[in-house]
Structures are given as structure tokens and as C-alpha cells.
């Protein structure tokens, strides 16, 4: 086979693979695009047979969602997500340090304990939680969600950040300890800058999971602490059409996380590849 035909064949295969990639990307993206399109429809266009492909876009649904007082929900989601993510990092970074760089005894047991808390079904304990929270008068309180989301994300964050820390070359840390730097200083000036992409990836994953969390939000909040996923569900009704309204609410609700994910996707890949698993 001559080099020319080989190069030609490689080019054709490349073309086929590129086309395939694009087809798959479009297929995966399509439901989101459809959701976005539906958000600009009237309700009877949203549930029509055959599907409505061409229509005059309307902002009615968005207007209804925004004027329906969605501000409180967004503010609650922002608090629950933001504060819990910060707390996860504050608690998780020292813990990850203690499980990697200057490890305690029985590291594997501690890691196993953390991860085991993630495997247990939340539904199994929701009733006791509800009853206890009711007695303590912390139902419908955003700080209850903050605490729960912190506990929900902490185990995974510790695992991820520990593996990033393990990637840090030993010499760097030895140099720092020779300098006599304490824990906080070592963390702040040496470690954290080196694993910043990993921490960013961890934070993003925490943000995604707490922003999208539905089960606790549904069961433990009412009016004051309700978050965005509850708003989405409350646009549903068993009597009447709701798809267009729901899509508008879902689009607005997902935008912050979608944008964050799009912007930070390189960080995510770099962060995950840096430590992935050790």
C-alpha cells in the first residue's frame, strides 16, 4: 500500500468518525434542544400530534414563571448550593489531607466509612428526619438543607480530593515542612494551588448535585425554603396542560449549572484526570 492511499484512507476514516461523533452529539443534545424549543411554545403546541416543528415563539411561559414569584426559589437554591459547597471544601480539604499526605492510621476504614454513607437509601430515613426536624422546628428552613447537602456531598468530595493530593510529588511537601510551615500554610500556599483544578472539579460536582437535589427539598421544605426543583414540580398539574410552562421553568432553572458546566468543562476533565483514582 502506498503512503498516498494510506493517507487517503486515514482521511476517509477520519471523516466518517467525525460525522459519527457529530451525529451522536446531536442525538444526545436533542432532548435539551427540544426542551428549549418547547419553552417558547403555547401549551397546545407543546402536546400536539404530530409534533409542532414550526411555530411563532412566545415568551408567555417565561413571563408566567418569572412573575409567578420564582425569585425566592432561586435565592434558596443559591444559598443551599453555595453555602453547602463552601462547607464541603472547608471540611473536606483538611480531611483529604489527613487521608493522603500525612495519613492517619486505618485510612481505608475511614474512606470506606465515608463512601458507605453514600450508598444508603435516603428514603429509608426520611420519615425519622422529618419527625425530628418537625420537633426541632427546623422544617422549611434553608439551613436544614445546607447541612444535609453538605453531608450528602462530603464523602465524594473527600474521596476525589484525596486522590488529587496523592498526585502531589513528595519533594514539594518535604520542602515545605523543612521550611517549618504549619498545616494551614502548607495547605494554603503549597497544596491548594497545585491541586486547584481538582478542587474546582470537586466543587463543580457538588454544585451540580445540590442544585439539582429534589427529594429532601420536596419533603423538608414548604414555602420559605423551597428550592428550584420544587418550583419545577409545582408547575405540573394533574388537570390541564403544563409541558411548555415546565420546559420554560426547567430551562431557566438549569441555565446556571449548564453554563457553569460548559465554562468549566476543561477544568473538569483536567481535574478528573489529575487524580482520578489512587
Amino acid at each position: 500500500m502506498s503512503d498516498v492511499t494510506r493517507a487517503y484512507r486515514r482521511r476517509t476514516t477520519g471523516g466518517v468518525l467525525t460525522t459519527l461523533t457529530w451525529l451522536l452529539a446531536l442525538a444526545f443534545f436533542f432532548p435539551v434542544a427540544w426542551m428549549a424549543a418547547t419553552a417558547f411554545k403555547q401549551e397546545n403546541q407543546a402536546a400536539s400530534d404530530p409534533p409542532t416543528w414550526f411555530f411563532t415563539p412566545t415568551l408567555d411561559q417565561f413571563r408566567a414563571v418569572i412573575e409567578g414569584g420564582s425569585g425566592v426559589y432561586v435565592a434558596n437554591s443559591a444559598i443551599a448550593t453555595g453555602v453547602s459547597t463552601v462547607l464541603v471544601l472547608l471540611l473536606g480539604i483538611p480531611a483529604a489531607y489527613a487521608l493522603s499526605i500525612r495519613p492517619v492510621e486505618k485510612v481505608s476504614d475511614v474512606l470506606f466509612f465515608f463512601i458507605s454513607t453514600k450508598m444508603l437509601p435516603v428514603v429509608a430515613v426520611i420519615v425519622p428526619i422529618y419527625v425530628v426536624a418537625g420537633q426541632l422546628k427546623v422544617l422549611d428552613n434553608i439551613w436544614t438543607l445546607v447541612v444535609l447537602y453538605t453531608a450528602m456531598n462530603l464523602p465524594i468530595a473527600v474521596w476525589m480530593m484525596r486522590s488529587f493530593f496523592l498526585e502531589v510529588p513528595g519533594e514539594v511537601l518535604e520542602a515545605a515542612s523543612v521550611d517549618g510551615a504549619g498545616l494551614m500554610r502548607t495547605l494554603r500556599s503549597v497544596l491548594i494551588p497545585m491541586v486547584a483544578p481538582g478542587i474546582a472539579a470537586t466543587a463543580l460536582i457538588c454544585v451540580i448535585f445540590s442544585w439539582n437535589e429534589f427529594f429532601f427539598a420536596l419533603n423538608l421544605t414548604a414555602s420559605r425554603a423551597a428550592t428550584v426543583p420544587v418550583l419545577i414540580v409545582s408547575t405540573m398539574t394533574s388537570e390541564g396542560l403544563f409541558l411548555a410552562r415546565l420546559c420554560a421553568a426547567a430551562l431557566l432553572a438549569s441555565l446556571p449549572v449548564i453554563i457553569a458546566g460548559w465554562v468549566a468543562q476543561k477544568q473538569l476533565v483536567r481535574g478528573l484526570s489529575m487524580g482520578a483514582i489512587k
Binding site: 453514600k118 422549611d140 447541612v147 444535609l148 447537602y149 414548604a222 388537570e239 390541564g240
Partner: protein, 449 residues
């Protein structure tokens, strides 16, 4: 477990928040009440009219929690049963009201009613008022009431030279559905609920069971879902929906049937009378004005329709009962009906709660096609008219005992599976009978005591 709260969690939460009940206490001088309602269209209208309430009651700040029926019911029940205390006003139905009143979970509203001038309880539809009262006192007040009836496409019936009988029987409905069914054109003869759930498939199916002379339990608390009468009703229902019903019947509830019927893809639909507000709304329905309404299909009784009412109650745990009553009475009095009619539209008025609604000329005009059918169905929605024999529990399409939510849903799952063809009707009945018998045992034991 993922992340439950506890005493310590809660303490941490409080510490973090700096002040207990963070953000809960508004800085304004007024009282704040939290209202939990079901997110059906009429309730959403009430939310959109909240400024009117604020104008009349400047001291009361209302916050709404509006969720779909299942979520709302689970949440409200959990809150009221455990004394969670998040809500000052809750929307419940004639299923919960008598039981909760007996448990002391909700306030007796009669003193409030008596102290409110012009709040005419005699004006409530009698069958509804009866269902929401205990010893003559009302414990919840109706926002709207519904029965069930049969909607049919009058235009298509005429085209096909068919006639809807004045009091159709299930056999006649089955034949008509078969005649008009046209799966090749994606057009079904009838829409019937098949979604698992005591408030879904079991509502219309229970009315069929009643009118065939069957029932859930007999007077001595024996489960009778496998009696010949019950069996005939279940077979008729399942057979009708399987042979001439909508595709996806086993997962379709009210909303799916509404979509299908409103898009002109079904000839008949047996469901709640409240369907009219969507079916007759030209902006969401392509069949508005083409629909006729007949009473619920019967077999051995004179009527068969169910009785259901979304009503407002005040949990005993509420700390703002007077403000809560201000809101409850605003949302259920005669003026509210006029307010909706004048500001939103007369077809959007919550039906089936007050007799006076039907005397308003504007409403009579828009509701001409269905007002009589609705009132007639609601009038006939009593156990005496819809059942062949007495039963030891309240309710028509449900059994008014606490276990029923669970029992009804389990039986509904069986029926739904039968409609999907995953089990046979016989298997579904046998399994359902076992579920019902387990519940029946505890009641027989109590009676024996």
C-alpha cells in the same frame, strides 16, 4: 444513608443561621400564613388573584405551596399527622376530612362559619356539605366539587348516526366505543384512566364496581373484590379500555386523557366533571363546543358518579387560625366566584361548590352544555343512589378508612398491570382480594371486640 438531619444537625443549622427560623419571620407588622394547595388550574387562578385578598386583608401575608395532587397529598398528610406545623391552611378532600376531624388534626370550622356574616353554608351543594361535616359541623369547606360523567363528541356521534342514551349503561358504552374506535387513525373509542393509584384508575373503576352491585367490603367487613358482581365490573372496564381505549392506557391518568380528548383523538371520555374547564377552553382544546355530556355509565343502579371535593381546612397546629380563616373564607365565599368570573373568565370559575354559582347568568351562559349534567351527577352522588347495598364505610369511589390510600394504590397497581396485559384479570383480582382481606381482618377484629 445520604444525609439525614438530626438533633445535632438541627442545632448546627440553627447555629449557622444565627437566628432561629432564619428568614422565616418577615419584618413587616402582619401575620404570615402558609397555604398548601394542589396545583390544578382553578387553584392556580386563586394564586394569581392573591393581590385581591391582600387588598382586603392588609395585615395578612399569604404564601403558597402548590404541588401536583400526589405530592401535595403526601406532604400535607405527613405534616398534619406528625404535627409538623408548616401549614396554616391545607387543601384536602372529602376522603381526609371525616378521619382527620375525628383524630383532632383539623379545626372545627363551624364557630368561624357562624361568626362570618353572609358565609352561606346552605348554599353549598348538599352532597358535598354532608361529606365534609361531622355531627353537623363542617371541618373543611369546599373550594370545588366534582362528580364524574361521560363526555362524548356530539359532532362525531351525529356524523356516524349514533345516539348517546340519556342514561348509558356500561354495555352500551362498550359497544359505542368499539364502533368508533379507529386505531389506524390513532383515534380511540374511549379514554379511561389506567394509571395505578387510588385516585387514578380506582376512582372510575370503583364507580363501575358499585353500579354492578359489587364493592370493596360488605357490611360485615368481608372483602368482596372477587365477588361475581365486582368481577363482572372489573372485566368490563378492563376489556373496554383494552379493546377500544387509548394507547398507553396503563399509564394514563386524568391529564393524559385530557390531552388526548382535547386534541380530538377520542370519541368518549369518562372522568371528572371538572374536565369541562379545560375541554371547553378553546385555547387549550380543539373540541370546545363539540362535546356532549351524559351521566356516568350504570348497570344496576340509577346513578354511578363519584363525589369528590377539594376543600380547605385549618390544621390544629396553626398559630394563625384567625388569619387562616380570613383566607379560607375569602377563597370559598360567593364573592370569590364572581371575582374569578369577572377578572379571569366565567369558564374558569371553580364549579360544584355552591348552588348559587349556577344561578349567575354569565355562568349559566358559558356552562349551558354541562351545568345540568354536572349538577345532576353531583346530586346523584350518594351511596344510596350509586350502590346496590349498604357498606360500613363512607365514600363512593374510595373507602373512607386510613388504610385506603395504600390499599387503593396496591389494587390500582394490579388493575393497571391487567390493563397493560402483564397479568390476567383473574390474577389481578385474586391478588387484590388478598390485599383487601388483610385490611378487612383488622376491622372484623375491631367489630368483634
Amino acid at each position: 444513608m445520604r444525609a439525614p438531619a438530626t438533633a445535632a444537625t438541627a442545632a448546627a443549622a440553627l447555629a449557622l443561621s444565627g437566628c432561629a427560623g432564619a428568614g422565616a419571620v418577615g419584618g413587616d407588622d402582619g401575620e404570615q400564613i402558609v397555604v398548601a394547595i394542589v396545583s390544578n388550574p382553578q387553584m392556580q387562578d386563586a394564586i394569581s388573584l392573591q393581590d385581591e385578598f391582600r387588598a382586603a386583608h392588609p395585615g395578612v401575608d399569604v404564601r403558597f405551596v402548590s404541588l401536583p395532587e400526589n405530592e401535595a397529598r403526601a406532604k400535607i398528610t405527613a405534616s398534619v399527622a406528625t404535627g409538623g406545623g408548616e401549614f396554616d391552611v391545607v387543601m384536602i378532600s372529602n376522603y381526609e376530612t371525616p378521619m382527620w376531624a375525628e383524630n383532632g388534626w383539623i379545626e372545627n370550622l363551624q364557630p368561624y362559619i357562624d361568626a362570618t356574616e353572609g358565609y352561606d353554608t346552605e348554599d353549598f351543594v348538599p352532597s358535598v356539605r354532608e361529606a365534609l361535616s361531622r355531627d353537623g359541623d363542617m371541618y373543611s369547606v369546599p373550594f370545588y366539587g366534582e362528580s364524574s360523567f361521560l363526555a362524548y363528541r356530539a359532532d362525531l356521534f351525529e356524523e356516524a348516526g349514533l345516539e348517546m342514551p340519556a342514561h348509558p349503561t356500561w354495555d352500551e358504552v362498550r359497544d359505542l366505543a368499539a364502533e368508533l374506535n379507529d386505531p389506524a387513525e390513532d383515534f380511540s373509542g374511549i379514554c379511561l384512566r389506567g394509571l395505578a393509584g387510588w385516585g387514578e384508575v380506582m376512582a372510575p373503576m370503583s364507580t363501575a364496581i358499585n353500579t354492578f352491585g359489587g364493592g370493596w367490603f360488605d357490611e360485615d367487613w368481608n372483602a368482596t373484590l372477587d365477588s361475581p358482581e365486582s368481577r363482572e365490573a372489573i372485566e368490563t372496564y378492563v376489556d373496554t379500555v383494552r379493546s377500544s381505549g387509548q394507547p398507553g392506557a396503563a399509564t394514563s391518568g386524568f391529564g393524559d386523557c385530557l390531552t388526548r380528548f382535547a386534541q380530538g383523538q377520542s370519541a368518549m371520555w369518562y372522568d371528572a366533571t371538572s374536565m369541562v374547564s379545560s375541554v371547553e377552553d378553546p385555547s387549550s382544546s380543539t373540541v370546545a363546543g363539540k362535546v356532549g355530556y351524559a351521566p356516568a355509565p350504570v348497570a344496576d343502579t340509577e346513578s354511578a358518579g363519584w363525589l369528590y371535593s377539594w376543600s380547605l381546612a385549618i390544621p390544629s397546629t396553626s398559630e394563625h387560625k384567625d388569619a387562616a380563616w380570613d383566607f379560607v373564607s375569602w377563597m370559598t365565599n360567593k364573592e370569590y366566584i364572581r371575582l374569578v368570573g369577572d377578572t379571569i373568565g366565567w369558564e374558569r370559575v371553580p364549579p360544584g361548590s355552591r348552588l348559587s354559582t349556577y344561578e349567575i347568568p354569565e355562568y349559566a351562559e358559558v356552562s349551558e352544555a354541562y351545568a345540568d349534567a354536572t349538577l345532576e351527577s353531583m346530586g346523584g352522588a350518594t351511596q344510596e343512589a350509586a350502590m346496590t347495598h349498604p357498606v360500613p364505610y363512607p365514600g363512593i369511589q374510595f373507602v373512607g378508612i386510613p388504610e385506603f390510600q395504600d390499599l387503593g394504590t396496591r389494587v390500582g397497581q394490579q388493575m393497571s398491570a391487567a390493563i397493560a396485559g402483564q397479568v390476567t384479570v383473574d390474577e389481578a383480582i385474586a391478588q387484590s382480594q388478598r390485599y383487601a382481606e388483610t385490611v378487612a381482618e383488622t376491622y372484623r377484629a375491631q367489630e368483634g371486640k
